[in-house]
Symmetry: C2
Subunit: 566 residues, 2 copies
């Protein structure tokens, strides 16, 4: 197979209905893909597996919500995306074509551009005499291009809105509501699965870099003073392959293996929850059919991290053509988002931490001499009382004989400042956030890439049975009335039981198996002469071609069991 | 309850986590709502029920695909939305506020505005002296406002794109690919479930009129010369309540009941498939807990129909506060969309209809006298041959001695037109389309509205068990170690089995049941003293408060059975 495996997968995908470029009849739009009938089923099974692993099994801690794709500009000003969600762009001054500047430079000159600012990139273009690859014209200055899709909400032109580039902000802006509806307990994970859009400058990697895709994301909120993960024991001994930032800076390019235990103890990962969700991610990726040796986590260097993150690990998987691609990101977002939204919205997004027992704190307060106020200020006394009760001791200038409050000058004879001890029961704080984030369509491509195999002339998609778009094919061995009738009845029964199955009676049984193998149907159910005698059918296994016999009445249970999560 | 049932539902929804306005901390954006943890589960169950009823059970005919929300402008120029997807808007010339003109007029004057053009609406505003309801200022001219959210795809400002207002266009533009991947058979239903956005001028009906929502839609393609529905027998006797356009024009305002059989026979509905999907829709709505007497289909009048439809029925459901609301539309879109996309894209979106047997057709064709061409035109002969072979006999002027083809004048002596009989094996045609289309969030509101009931002080959400966000609550009767241990084990086992459940040990059992009733948990599983003796637990039914005892080891099966589709 070798080099053109990617082409073969894409050819199969288009021909059998996994995916194809959107709006082909209008010439297509790069970065937009349709999922066909099989792709939609496969993607849904991947999404459901993610939901099962990350949400449903963690329902004690994690809830799922759904927020809109469109948000008012204020949300993305607060999140920092309006300022920072950019890529460098350069335009040909002759033909007007536009390019992603860093990609263009790397392709044209081999210069590594990571971490370069626009002015650096402009300099390289001049130094290396890089010109427009289409027309040969001179390139202009590199500038930053914002990747948010911009629109207008409602009929007022100044009501700018954006399509979200991540689902996260909907979870941050709804944090207080979700927290209240969840009995106000931490830790609290808020998950969301939904569409996002990123206005890439010129995406060219098929299903791997899309302008619109489905994100699966958790914002996991925890108390930074109580950061322990009660679930850590479940994964303590799981081994992850990690390439740390320190290794990368020392030019090490091969990941090392650590247990989750070690990651936490040696502080390689920022905390227990961060490590826990990475362990869950590694389990999840294996369930998709990825061998542990074909995946690792790479720590991002400071200049590679998104603006909101203090530590990020990308989970990489090896695929044909594109090599190592990112399938998930694991960011420690600290309290960046909640504190920014508090600041921008004026809403209090803190959480109250009750102390185990009340703490005694020294505090200064004002003691007013009421008699003195009445004596000195007479009719003005009520005004003076009000002013004194609103004193802010932190900013008050106590150096003279009088103090000034709300424009009133008040004698220091009418009050004194005393220090008192008070019992404090708790304090406010912003929860910190760990974010595991996956792209569903990219995983779909990964599953196809891992599953694709050729056996002689035949293509077999060895998709894990739970994820396969179609669970079973039902075949009468020969086109004979009795067998056809029974096979059709099995088809109807399996449909009624909720499965996706196909019925196929055309061509030789070998041809039918081959057609089914090509789209990854794990089980072939064949009705033959023996069926008429003992009510059994054969089940043929896609990957081994082994066959067993099962009673028709047991088929539903047999299939359910074979698809159940391990 | 009466008038403020809506308020109570909204209050419950916000407090317990079904839904709330999005971006509340920034003051909210009208028409955008978040689904909280319970709302997300409920919506998913509704979506899955729709998928089960419309797609999975019909998988022989219907496939599901997924296409992007963002499309290039050409798609919506072809579909007619750029021109026709508009609402009338009017602006106050004093304060600049903008209003949906027809709504403003109806609210201010009671004048019925259906079918009025902008100039008609402007006239009514003048006649009735309607002014700005906010500042009293004079209103300007009514104009049309396009409801498509507009954006730009990629870095070129002229690459205009829109967010889809319906999922349909993605199915039409991908029709050929899906058709080919589905063995090129008609009828073929293409389903899609996904987000759409409509930039409403000033939405004010909470969850009922959203600027962004999830659509569930089928474009069902069939051959107009072979329009019969082989599934009709399944629903032939189902009775639907219908208010026809004819009735409405005769001022009848109460629907009449018809069997599906009658709808077809009396041509009340445009065809068998149209009637069939309406029957499926009526079954679906009943599964959501809507009584047949609270729903009917209303045929739209010509001026109420979308620009692409020849006949439309809206399915209405009665809810508190808003009265009859539309939950689905059932349009006959004819071949409008496919033919428009063929025209705009230059791609052939027709399908080939093979005749049962070849048909003999008379056709005129050109017979060229080669010798004469060579003799008369000499060196120019090749040019003449090319011109003659591209003759279009339908437009050719044969009245003179010469004909003109591609700027060449050619003597009629070199060819003659003869009539021949040919065997034709088939013909090309555009499939016609029936479209059932539902909004998921609106159905979520419908389910809550139908389920909400009060029994004394207590609120019970009588959501059908299959749709309930949480399937069971697990309770130790008293906080006693043995009972707690067993209850927690049951909780873990049910989570592992894939259910959404809660564990609750705080407060009296009555309080716990009440909290569960309020969010519609259909089953309460209580561990009590008897559990220690015989390994059974009680299951309490939310709606009847009856209790039965079930063995712990049978719980998973019992719950699965009770949730299985009837």
């Amino acid at each position: 197979m070798g080099e053109d495996k990617y082409e073969r997968i894409v050819d199969l995908a288009v021909r059998r209905g996994f995916f194809w470029p959107s709006y082909e009849i209008y010439g297509g739009v790069s970065g937009l893909y349709d999922l066909g009938p099989l792709g939609t089923l496969l993607k849904r099974n991947i999404v459901e597996e993610w939901r099962r692993v990350f949400v449903q099994r963690h329902q004690e801690y994690v809830v799922e919500i759904e927020t809109p794709m469109i948000a008012p500009s204020r949300v993305f000003e607060a999140s920092g995306h309006v300022e920072s969600f950019t890529d460098p762009i350069v335009e040909c001054t002759k033909c007007g074509r536009k390019y992603r500047a860093d990609h263009l430079i790397e392709a044209a000159s081999g210069v590594k551009t990571e971490g370069m600012k626009p002015e650096d990139l402009s300099r390289v273009i001049v130094e290396k005499s890089i010109r427009c690859p289409q027309c040969g014209g001179p390139l202009g200055e590199v500038r930053l291009f914002n990747l948010l899709f911009k629109t207008t909400i409602g009929p007022y032109a100044d009501a700018v809105g954006y399509i979200r580039p991540e689902a996260a902000q909907g979870m941050f802006t709804a944090f207080r509501r979700v927290f209240e509806a969840s009995r106000e307990k931490l830790p609290l994970g808020i998950a969301q699965i939904g569409r996002v859009a990123r206005n890439e400058i010129s995406p060219r990697q098929g299903m791997v870099r899309l302008r619109e895709f489905t994100i699966m994301e958790i914002e996991f909120f925890y108390d930074p003073k109580n950061p322990s993960c009660p679930l850590l024991d479940r994964v303590r001994n799981r081994r992850l392959r990690i390439l740390t930032a320190r290794d990368r800076l020392s030019e090490v390019d091969r990941p090392s293996e650590y247990s989750v235990e070690e990651l936490v103890r040696e502080k390689i990962v920022s905390g227990e929850w961060h490590a826990y969700w990475m362990a869950v991610a590694s389990e999840f990726i294996e369930r998709l059919g990825v061998d542990p040796s074909d995946t690792y986590f790479e720590e991002k260097l400071p200049h590679e991290r998104a603006h909101y993150a203090s530590q990020v690990f990308d989970q990489l998987v090896r695929v044909s053509r594109w090599g190592w691609i990112e399938v998930s990101g694991h960011a420690n977002r600290t309290d960046y988002d909640l504190s920014r939204h508090s600041l921008y919205s004026g809403s209090d997004l803190t959480v109250y931490r009750r102390y185990p027992s009340p703490v005694s704190v020294k505090r200064r307060r004002v003691r007013i001499d009421k008699q003195a106020v009445l004596r000195i200020y007479g009719e003005k006394a009520p005004e003076i009382f009000r002013a004194l009760s609103s004193i802010n001791l932190d900013t008050l200038d106590l150096s003279g004989d009088e103090v000034e409050i709300k424009g009133l000058r008040i004698s220091k004879d009418v009050f004194r400042v005393e220090e008192v001890e008070e019992l404090v029961h708790g304090e406010k704080f912003f929860p910190h956030v760990i974010e595991p984030s996956f792209g569903a369509e990219r995983l779909l491509y990964v599953v196809l890439d891992r599953a694709y195999s050729e056996e002689g002339e035949r293509v077999v998609l060895k998709i894990p049975p739970r994820l396969a778009p179609i669970t079973a094919g039902i075949y009468p061995l020969i086109e004979e009335e009795d067998l056809v009738r029974i096979a059709r009845k099995i088809y109807r029964d399996l449909v009624e039981a909720g499965f996706y199955v196909i019925y196929d009676e055309s061509g030789s049984i070998g041809r039918r198996y081959a057609r089914a193998d090509e789209i990854g149907i794990p089980y072939g159910i064949t009705v033959d002469k023996q069926t008429l005698e003992d009510n059994t059918v054969t089940i043929r296994f896609r990957d081994t071609r082994e066959q067993i016999r099962v009673r028709i009445e047991d088929l539903v249970d047999w299939l359910r069991k074979s698809l159940s999560p391990s």
